[in-house]
Symmetry: C2
Subunit: 542 residues, 2 copies
């Protein structure tokens, strides 16, 4: 129809350039030494692969506060720290296919400049001086592609003259480098961070696994037969392998929390998250991004002033959403009564799918790439099987109907808030429940292509609540046996129950969400630290 | 088609019950004494009508802080104060038709209970003890109708089982009393306020004039041939006549600011606005309404800590939006370069009209009342003339397209914010412009039915900026003569220029908007106080 290049050619050329961005010497050393595909748990491989020396292993195993302290004292240079993480990111890439853009030359030049600055002035550039930070692919960096998906996070790139502009994304967006940094990238660099890689995501971003037509599938380093989660699946795998001390994702239905639960958190410590939040807020992002809420870091809220100073907290545990009961490993984590969860899922799904099929079709038509319908490995698709996870144009509706669904969501949000406030009658603290502790999904990381939904995360997006994920344990073949159960909520619940077999989930991480009400980010962080401390006291291996 | 009652019958019965809610003795006294319809300026009538005695006039002429001080000291009882405002509200109603629900019995019982409480305990109930407050019709009060429009402000009443529920509103919503208070009504009562009347609005709420099929048209007390503005036009007229010391409206395109500019402010003093904001925020509305931003009153922001402590402010004056040039009286108020205003108007109008016609048609179909197409008095409509201000179903579009328009709006917001921040180069304060001072409309209050748009107000809604209106002066037949002008921005601008004749606008108020960036409410209030002080120093008659 047009003289556009074949999308497969565009994609494979892009992938070749990606490989060429890795120092050949590193690749050669690793390739000789890679574990076989059948080896599922590759988390220990970075330590034994031989690419990183002892000091580089020390650096990459350090928490964010330690890194920052040694960088600011000059004990470790930014060039050393960046080199160590570049190497480890390459190891992660070879094991899990977690990266998209790789730009080590640029990162090392930046690190050298930071070292010079510190040496010359005796001062750090900012709160994140010399810290390597990885970014989910859709966060724009000047001169680099943002190949897949739209920029949802702290930045808008579209330069639209019409009200119905072409949406960027997908293969059609390869080889179209960004003309300027996302606000977030600017902010991180202004604090002295070193950006060095971008990470993989699913086509359209709306899938809780990670696979696309350019970079392919990202694997879970704990068990490569399982998904890394999505949409920030590349970050999940990279950070779990300590190929980055801090990764930035975005989440409108679980896209940070699901990879965190599947792989490991998006920072190697809660302090990392706190420093990230403080640094971003310190830069007053609302003066650059009109969608950022104008609210300073509130130390009083973080210290839980509104939560009895954190001295006697009352957590509610949501064991089960009453729609699909979690698999046994999930129930081992440490009574919230769910209110209308099925209705809220239906509502938020309707909002997401209102115009989604049209969006996907318009964007993929530019390059000719197909819209991915399943993330099952090709070998697992049965002959004649029709698979579809995607919304079809049959789910599209008018702006008027979208408004009605938004109204229904508003009512559900009001009811849920009232439901929360009414717990003041039962907590004994004089306050409603302080936070909800709940599963991140009804399953540990599922095998590739089998994720059915993101209900346990997207519920909190639908309500616009603050939620944070912390790791708790790993699947235990003895403890997490299949339990007898004969009554089911519905067919989905029954099928989900039947699909469980502990052997499938060998070594898969288990995590919990800590959930607070709207704009309670500081308090959620403060309470997560308390929970994390308690969990570590209980199990020092964490 | 059904056995529903005729909408005209429903409307006229409702109107009769409204009249019956006014004490007959007051009505009789007033009716004998009403000015002829040809008398345009009725602002002095409350003082001479004889319904209020000297003390009642003193009470109703007092600013909010004075009222609160005398109520809390017991010098004036809540019953006295409420009685005085009830009387004056009746005068306002007879002169301008500004009320919908009238519930003096309930208000006086409430006032008596407040007096008892103060007498018994020596304490006030809260920050607004005994203060009568009027509410725009759509704010729900338990047991009363919210006849017209949807509840946009701090409350949701729809109890929806389906995602495509019936929208309440209009004649079809008469005689369906609310089952509970709006969150806002609860909050005001918890602070000791006395609710006593609700006020008139246009059918659909989306019109900057005030007229509907139940209660009819609200007139401007400064010149009854001019509109009171809308959609909070009832509040505008009532507060201008001092029939209420504080009125609550809502504003998604100018619905508070336009009536304020046309009639007078929605409180008799800026202190009234400040007390209202503080009282509402003090009650933590975000714990009851999920759409309320969780942000405490910030005294530091109010004291302009981020604005050089208010010592050397730099205001930018937006003289003209480059689309339609203001009429001469508007230019007399005290250089902001408008950025893409025409494009922003187009964008926000597209969002508003995306499903509006469908909404209006569905809701009016329930009662059979027609959708109002013009607010011209019937006598002014020329034979055969086709008038339409309303979006038609031709402007409706899909949810997908709505998303594209929302994206375009996001880009425009980002560009506008950047434009604002770049003024740091020219202000000389080391900060960008602190606030914009601009017209509220391109005209003083227009004659009934001739309002063409709400561009000068809705621009700030499109950008989600904080804006406040303060009165400046009144139209002056000598100063505000028509000026020579030969070049025009476009046909609308030319028609607008030609429509100007100072004689049309006799006695019409002139006001300005003070505009700050997103969530800068406290700072805008702080700066408005500085501007108001300067204006009063310049012209003590204000």
């Amino acid at each position: 129809m047009t003289d556009r290049p074949d999308w497969k050619t565009v994609a494979s050329e892009k992938k070749s350039r990606q490989l060429a961005a890795i120092p050949k010497e590193w690749l050669d050393r690793l390739t000789a030494n890679l574990p076989p595909q059948t080896e599922l748990d590759v988390t220990l491989y970075p330590k034994v692969c031989g690419l990183l020396d002892g000091r580089e292993l020390d650096i990459t195993e350090s928490d964010v506060p330690i890194l920052l302290q040694r960088l600011s004292s000059g004990e470790w240079t930014a060039v050393e720290v960046t080199t160590a993480f570049c190497k480890r990111a390459v190891v992660a890439q070879q094991l899990t296919n977690c990266l998209t853009e790789i730009f080590f030359d640029r990162a090392l030049a930046r690190a050298a400049a930071l070292d010079d600055y510190l040496k010359t002035t005796g001062k750090v550039v900012g709160m994140l001086h010399g810290l390597p930070i990885s970014l989910k692919d859709q966060v724009n960096i000047k001169g680099l592609d943002s190949t897949i998906g739209e920029r949802l996070f702290l930045y808008i790139q579209d330069t639209t003259d019409s009200y119905f502009p072409f949406s960027p994304g997908y293969v059609s967006y390869a080889n179209k480098p960004a003309e300027r940094n996302a606000v977030l990238a600017d902010i991180l660099e202004s604090h002295g961070a070193v950006l060095f890689v971008k990470t993989n995501i699913p086509q359209t971003l709306m899938w809780p696994e990670t696979h696309n037509n350019i970079f392919g599938r990202t694997l879970n380093p704990n068990n490569r037969s399982l998904t890394s989660g999505g949409s920030s699946g590349g970050e999940g795998a990279l950070v779990a392998l300590k190929g980055s001390p801090l990764g930035v994702g975005s989440d409108i239905g679980g896209s940070v929390r699901i990879p965190s639960a599947c792989c490991g958190p998006l920072s190697n410590s809660l302090d990392g998250l706190k420093l990230f939040m403080q640094a971003v807020i310190d830069a007053k992002p609302w003066m650059k991004d009109p969608l950022a809420v104008c609210k300073r870091w509130n130390e009083e809220e973080y210290r839980l002033a509104d939560y009895g100073d954190g001295k006697q907290l009352c957590f509610a545990v949501l064991w089960d959403d009453g729609v699909v009961a979690p698999h046994p490993p999930i129930l081992r984590v440490i009574d919230w009564v769910p209110l209308k969860h099925a209705e809220i899922y239906k509502c938020i799904s309707a909002i997401w799918s209102a115009g989604a099929a049209e969006d996907y079709e318009i964007v993929t038509a530019v390059s000719g790439e197909p819209v991915i319908q399943t993330m099952l490995p090709e070998t697992d698709i049965l002959a004649g099987e029709t698979l579809s996870y995607r919304p079809s144009s049959a789910t599209a509706f008018s702006a008027y109907k979208l408004w009605q669904v938004q109204k229904a969501r508003r009512v559900l949000r009001e009811e849920y808030l009232q439901h929360w406030q009414e717990t003041i009658e039962v907590t004994g603290t004089g306050r409603p429940v302080d936070a909800i502790i709940c599963p991140v999904a009804a399953t540990p990381a599922p095998p590739h292509g089998t994720t059915k939904n993101a209900n346990y995360t997207m519920i909190w997006n639908a309500l616009d609540y603050a939620a944070l994920v912390i790791p708790v344990s790993k699947v235990d073949q003895k403890l997490d046996v299949k339990r007898e159960r004969s009554a089911f909520y519905n067919d989905d619940d029954k099928a989900h129950y039947e699909s469980y077999d502990p052997a499938t989930y060998v070594n898969a991480p288990i995590a919990v969400q800590i959930v607070g009400r709207t704009l309670q980010e500081e308090a959620v962080l403060g309470m997560a630290e308390i929970v994390d401390f308690a969990l570590k006291a209980h199990n020092p291996k964490l």
